[in-house]
């Protein structure tokens, strides 16, 4: 038996050593890859600041691949059509599209583990600000962004707050309440109706991932004026008031996470009213002909941005991508695919009709169209950057009870 044992142990040792070697090679391999990339990066010209398309040169990024993370569904489709495909065609890079549900957790985890696999992330501005404060995002130099076709520099061409330290805004979107018009005899018209399960029966859908939106909506439905929302939320009583309002429908809520879910919940009849991103509801209305309607009253407008994850191995390609995706034409193109407002003033006149449906004028579906934004407020991204953390904990405790 002794010899057998010896052989078995030798075999086991061989496997362990093999695994060790494999491990070592793997680590070493990725490191050498990085240094190679570094070298290449220094050779590469920075994207130029003139012209609508960055002069990256065709095929310059051939063989490179970028991981671009976004919210999935109709929204990601609009980005693939408007940004990814032309970028791939022009530079030869390959873009891997990954879906997530927002928040900064995954980015933080990757950065802290020094194992960054996401290159560019589509984020809500408040999250981008928070991530920037924590040093999780690369700084973006506004000077590298292309100017408008008429020569207006990017800084003036973007809407207010459109360019921050770490983020370039692509679109203005809106959190709205949508409902299935076939389910109600009297149609709901105002935000407060969302909390009125007696007169407007049925389940409600709310976004689970964050107290943001939910607290504001609750306060506005409770009668707080638009310009008082964040002042109110800054007090203990204000937060309690928002949660108390949410308590009134807590047992009638079905919680959603990805943006593709609210139209699905409406279509399945699981809810009769839900909060949603306006573009997703537009998509269901126009593309699938669903009898959904939007309550624009009390809508919450927010900016959605592109950011680059700190420590990405593809910094140069990522920077080129962000500059390319946020140029005037690209942002206008995106509006052919989804009802979100472009973040550049110069893109607005180029917005026309829905892709493949010349009778659908996109302008009236934009959250910032005058008839839609009468009672709208902007989400205060700085306020949320400071308060998200503590309200997240309260939110989790509230949800679990």
């Amino acid at each position: 038996m002794g010899r057998t044992t010896g052989i078995i142990i030798a075999a086991a040792a061989a496997i362990v050593i093999l695994a060790g070697v494999l491990l070592f090679m793997l680590k070493g391999g990725s490191e050498s890859e990085v240094s190679e990339l570094d070298k290449e990066m220094t050779d590469m010209p920075l994207p130029s600041a003139d012209g609508s398309a960055p002069a990256a040169g065709a095929g310059k990024l051939a063989g490179k691949s970028l991981v671009v993370v976004s919210w999935g569904g109709a929204y990601t489709t609009s980005q693939i059509e408007a940004y990814h495909k032309p970028f791939e065609a022009q530079t030869g890079a390959k873009i891997n599209s990954v879906d997530y549900n927002g928040g900064i957790a995954e980015i933080k985890a990757q950065v802290e583990a020094k194992n960054v696999t996401w290159d560019v992330v589509d984020m809500e501005l408040a999250d981008a600000q928070r991530a920037c404060d924590e040093g999780l995002l690369e700084k973006i130099d506004a000077g590298t962004l292309p100017a408008a076709p008429d020569g207006t520099p990017a800084l003036q061409d973007f809407i207010p707050n459109g360019i921050t330290q770490c983020a370039v805004t692509t679109i203005v979107f809106s959190h709205i309440v949508a409902y299935d018009s076939s389910k109600f005899q009297t149609q709901p018209t105002k935000l407060a109706d969302f909390f009125d399960v007696k007169n407007f029966p049925g389940k409600r859908g709310l976004r689970k991932t964050s107290p943001k939106i939910n607290l504001e909506l609750a306060l506005r439905a409770d009668g707080v004026a638009g310009d008082q929302v964040y002042q109110t939320l800054s007090t203990k009583e204000g937060v309690a008031r928002a949660f108390k309002k949410l308590d009134t429908i807590k047992n009638d809520v079905i919680w959603w996470e990805p943006g593709s879910q609210p139209p699905q919940l409406l279509a399945d009849g699981q809810v009769t009213m839900t909060t949603a991103y306006n573009g997703r509801i537009f998509d269901a209305q126009v593309k699938e002909g669903k009898p959904f309607a939007i309550i624009w009253d009390g809508q919450l407008q927010e900016l959605d941005v592109l950011s680059i994850v700190k420590g990405t191995k593809n910094l140069d390609a990522a920077t080129q991508f962000v500059a390319f995706a946020t140029d005037t034409q690209r942002l206008a193109d995106q509006a052919q695919w989804i009802a979100y407002g472009p973040a550049r003033k110069s893109s607005l006149p180029l917005v026309s009709t829905y892709h493949g449906k010349p009778d659908v004028d996109m302008k009236v579906h934009m959250p910032n169209a005058p008839e839609n934004s009468a009672n709208a407020i902007q989400i205060d991204f700085l306020w949320w950057a400071d308060h998200q953390e503590e309200l997240n904990q309260r939110w989790a405790a509230w949800l679990a009870k």
Binding site: A105, E390, A397
Partner: protein, 409 residues
């Protein structure tokens, strides 16, 4: 004679030595796996748990404040040196882009600290002595010794803070534990809920599983094997498949509700999934085979002659079952039940998918702190408490029931 003794001795020694060598050989067989598991499993868990008692963030980013506060006993007002040290540290941290990190960390200790620190750090470079007044001018919270007490606790590299938090407590400046405000309390409730769910699922598994095992054990060989395969089929089927099946069956537009609507029913749809009901049903279904199999295997070893003997001695069948058969099969049910209970304590996937808001267990909260709130220290503390419970039960299982009773199908 001398040589004879020497030979004898060396023989005994040889024997001992060869025994030792054999033991070493045996151990070497186990060693590769032990090393592998230590590296890939045990060490990582230990490493994670160590996060629950140590977090150097504050001490690293605010070193001068940490030093100044160490000299303070937490009673009364903090020393003036702490104010100037903090002003200095905040300015430097802001410049180095590390302020968000420390602000988030502080917020784990006390809700509201993040906004307080961020707000203060943005203007700290304009501070001039007297610093205490400068701080209070930004926010009156800085005049609260509790705020400084929190800073003092957090700047210690070794901290019980996360465990305090995990028990829904918070610490005053001088280190006393007091309950958190009611709206922030949640972990004790979740631990209780997890225990309650695990207990109820175990009970349900027993109520469903014991009679089935009893029935199967009494069939002839062929039927018995067929039935066992039917019990094993769900056991082998992917957990996600089984969970999907329950969602399909139980959702409001699902088959069960359609069936109820078909056979009368007032049109109201029952909510059977995405709540606690869903968690209980799906968990019972998934864990049931763990109860049936050990119970059944013990039942097989009970000779049927025993009950018959009891009956022929005048016992009613019920008494024979209850006084003779049941006590003999109880060890099997206990083995199954304890295993079900242990496994149920750590359940994550099923509650996450069918639990909705009210069917979430402690594991789901650990995942939340791991992946969403990124409060890794708290996740580790909650995990440590859960793991301690599981390990105690596991040791009981190993001691009382014996690991060789763990059979898979």
């Amino acid at each position: 004679m001398g040589t004879a003794i020497a030979t004898q001795e060396s023989l005994a020694e040889q024997f001992k030595r060869s025994g030792k060598r054999a033991r070493r050989g045996t151990f070497l067989l186990v060693l590769p796996l032990l090393a592998f598991l230590t590296l890939t499993f045990l060490l990582p868990i230990g490493n994670m748990l160590s996060r629950s008692i140590g977090d150097p963030t504050v001490a690293e980013v605010l070193p001068r404040t940490a030093a100044a506060l160490r000299a303070w006993n937490g009673k009364g007002r903090p020393p003036f040196s702490a104010y100037s040290a903090l002003a200095d540290d905040l300015v430097r941290a802001e410049r180095e882009g590390r302020i968000g990190k420390v602000a988030t960390r502080m917020n784990f200790e006390r809700a509201g600290m993040r906004s307080l620190i961020m707000k203060t750090a943005r203007v700290a470079s304009t501070f001039e002595p007297p610093y205490a007044q400068a701080f209070n001018a930004v926010d009156l919270q800085w005049s609260d010794p509790e705020v400084w007490g929190t800073l003092r606790h957090a700047s210690a590299t070794n901290t019980m803070g996360y465990y305090v938090s995990a028990l829904d407590q918070t610490r005053t400046a001088d280190g006393k534990w007091v309950p958190k405000p009611e709206e922030d309390q949640v972990y004790i409730m979740l631990f209780e809920r997890t225990l309650w769910v695990a207990g109820l699922v175990t009970l349900l598994c027993f109520v469903l599983g014991y009679p089935l095992a009893y029935y199967i054990a009494r069939q002839d060989d062929r039927t018995r094997n067929l039935l066992l395969i039917l019990v094993l089929l769900p056991f082998w089927t992917s957990l996600l498949v089984r969970t999907t099946a329950w969602i399909a069956l139980l959702q409001t537009n699902g088959i069960v509700n359609d069936g109820i609507a078909l056979f009368g029913g007032d049109g109201a749809r029952l909510e059977l999934v995405h709540n606690m009901t869903g968690t209980l049903i799906a968990m019972t279904h998934i864990l049931l085979p763990f109860m049936i199999l050990p119970t059944y295997s013990v039942m097989l070893s009970v000779p049927p002659a025993l009950t018959r003997a009891a009956i022929s001695l005048g016992a009613t069948p019920w008494t024979a079952f209850w006084r003779v058969y049941f006590p003999m099969t109880l060890p099997g049910a206990a083995a199954g039940g304890l295993l079900v209970f242990i496994l149920a304590l750590g359940y994550y996937i099923t509650p996450a998918l069918v639990g909705g808001r009210t069917g979430q267990l402690i594991s789901n909260m650990i995942q939340f702190h791991m992946q969403t709130s990124l409060n890794w220290g708290l996740a580790a503390a909650l995990g440590g408490i859960l793991l301690a419970g599981v390990v105690v039960l596991y040791v009981i299982y190993a001691r009382v029931i014996g690991l060789n009773r763990l059979r898979l199908g």
